[in-house]
Symmetry: C2
Subunit: 348 residues, 2 copies
Amino acid sequence: MNIAILFGGSSFEHEISIVSAITVKKVLKKANLSFIFVDSNREFYLIDAKNMKSNYFSDGAYKKAKKLVLKKGAFCTIGMMGLKEQSLGTILNLIHGRDGEDGKIASLLEFNGLSYISPRVDASVLSYNKLYTKLYAESIGVKVVPYSVLNSNDSRDIEIEYPVIIKPVRLGSSIGVSIVKSQDELDYALDVAFEFDNQVLIEPFIEGVLEYNQAGCKTSKFELSIVEEPNKEEFLDFEKKYLDFSRDGDVEDATISSELKLSIQESFKKVYGTLFEGAIIRCDFFVVDGEVLLNEINPIPGSMANYLFEDFESMVERLVEHLPKESDIKIDYSYINSIQSAKGGKRQ
Amino acid sequence: MNIAILFGGSSFEHEISIVSAITVKKVLKKANLSFIFVDSNREFYLIDAKNMKSNYFSDGAYKKAKKLVLKKGAFCTIGMMGLKEQSLGTILNLIHGRDGEDGKIASLLEFNGLSYISPRVDASVLSYNKLYTKLYAESIGVKVVPYSVLNSNDSRDIEIEYPVIIKPVRLGSSIGVSIVKSQDELDYALDVAFEFDNQVLIEPFIEGVLEYNQAGCKTSKFELSIVEEPNKEEFLDFEKKYLDFSRDGDVEDATISSELKLSIQESFKKVYGTLFEGAIIRCDFFVVDGEVLLNEINPIPGSMANYLFEDFESMVERLVEHLPKESDIKIDYSYINSIQSAKGGKRQ
C-alpha cells in the first residue's frame, strides 16, 4: 500500500497535525509511506521519512526539502525540464482544522483526480461548522445537544440558564471555547470566541455528562472502533488535547450496556451515511437521560483515532480499495455543435 | 480593472459556461480581461481574447493554447525555466454546476491566495445542494417551499399529493428535474432524478406560481438588481435555459407592490448574509398566499445575471475592492518549541 501523509496547513492546529503525522507514521508499519508537508505559507514540500521529527519543521529545516506543486493527476517536483510527476499513492489528509477540515484540501485532491482518504468537500463543510453539523444531524433524525446561535453583531442582552458552553462555530481542539458559569463571565467568553469566528454556539454545559466517542469508516461495510469513554480532564485543555494527538496505545472499550453501545453505533452510522464515504471520522456523543445526542463530528480525528481500532492498518488498506469515485461527465458539445450547424458552421 | 474569467469545468453545464463567458466578455467593456478555460479533463488553458468563440472549444482548437498550472499565488505557464507566474488580476469564477458551484474552484483559489469573485467554499456547498439550502434558509428564518427528501435506496411507496416536482439535490439548470402529475409517472421521474444524484427533493408543484428573481452582492453595502419576473416558459426547458445564459439585454422591473418588493429584497439580504460575501448571486423566490418563499439560490447565475443590473461593470469594480479576506494564522511553533526545550533540544 502506497500512502502519502499530507499534514501541516495554514491552521491553528498546524503543530497538532505534525504530531499526528509522526504518530501515524509509527502506526502504519507495512505501508510504503511518503510525506507531504504544507507549510504555513501553503507551499507543499516532499519530506524524507528520516526527517519526520517535530523540530525539522519548527526550526525551518524543511525549507531545504523539495517543493511540490499539485496539478491534474499528481503532485510534481519542479525541475529544469518542467514538472515531474511523483507517484505517491493514496493521499491521507491529516491536516486538522482550516485547510484540512474545511473542504479546501478535499477540493484540491478531488479536482486534480488524486485518490485520497478524507471527508469530501461537502462532508468537510458540514462538519467543520458546528452549526451546520447540527442542521445536518437534525435533518437525518440524529438528536443534538440543544443550542442557540449568536452572531458577533447581535445584541448580547440574552436570556440564558447558566452554566453554558460557548463555542465558535468553526475550529476544533477547543480553541476559543469557554464554560460560562454566570452572567458576569459572559462578555469575556464571547469576546474570546468572536476572536476566532463571527458566529458562536451557546449550549447548556452539563457537568459530568456521559460522553462517548465512536470512530469508524465504510469499506465494503461499516467498520467501527471500540466505544471510548474519553478522559474528562482533557476537555478544555489545549496542551492535553495536543498530547492526545500523539496517542498510539491501547484504549479500553467503555463499560456500557449493549443497548447503549448499539444505540451509539447506530447513531454513528446515520451520521456517516453516504456523506462521509472515503473518510475515517470520530463522532463524540453525549448521553443525557438515556438519549444519545451528537456533540461533534471530528472529520479528521487526531492521529486518525488509530488507537481505537483493533487493526488500524488493515482497515486503511481496505478503505483504499473502497474510496468513492466522482461520476464521469461526458462533454460532447452537442449544444454548441447544433447551434453552429444551424448557423452554417461559421465560427462564433 | 484586471479580471480573468474562469469558465468551462467538468460539469454538465460546461457548454453553458462557455456561453456565459462569451457574454460577460461583451458586458465588461472597460476591464482588462483574460480568459482561463478549464477543459473537461480539468486542465487549465490561457485563451486569447480573439479565440473566445464557442467552436474554438467544441472543435478542440483550444488544446493549442498555453496550459496553466495553479500554484501558491498565481496561475503559471510551464516553460523550460520552470513556472512563470501570470498576473491576471481578480478571477471571476464563471463555472456553472460541478467544480464551479460545488466549492472546488473556490477552494483552489482560496488555498492559493488569489483574489476572486465567487461564493466561498461553505457558501458553495450550501447552495449547490438544494437540501442544504433549505436547512440553511430555515436556520436564518427564511421560509422555503415545503419538501420531503427521498434517498435512492428508500422505499418508493410514499404518500404524495400530486402534482409534485422532483429534483436531484445537486445540479442546476433543471437537469434531472420532472413534474409528476400522478402516481404512474412517479417511478420514471425518480429513475431520471436518481441518474444524477442519490438523493432527491419532492416538492408540491404549484401551477402558475408567482416567481421573482433577485440578484445582488455586497460591496460597502448591499447592491441589489431589479426584481425580475422570469419567463415561465423556460422553466424546464434546457435549451431555452441555455439561451438565457447569453442574455445581456434589458429586463423590466417586475410590476409588484412596493411591500412585496421590499419583502423580496429583505429575504435576499438575509440569505446573502455574510455567507455569500465575495459573490454575485441570484435568488429565486416564489410568492404563495402573499408569503415570500426561497425556491433556489443560484450562486453563479448565467452570465452573472448582468442584465438585471443597471451598471454591472461598475458594480464588479466595487466588488473587487470589497472581497472577503481570510484571517491570518500565525504559526510560531510555540508548542513544539516548549516540548523540545523541556527535552533539552534533542531533535525528535
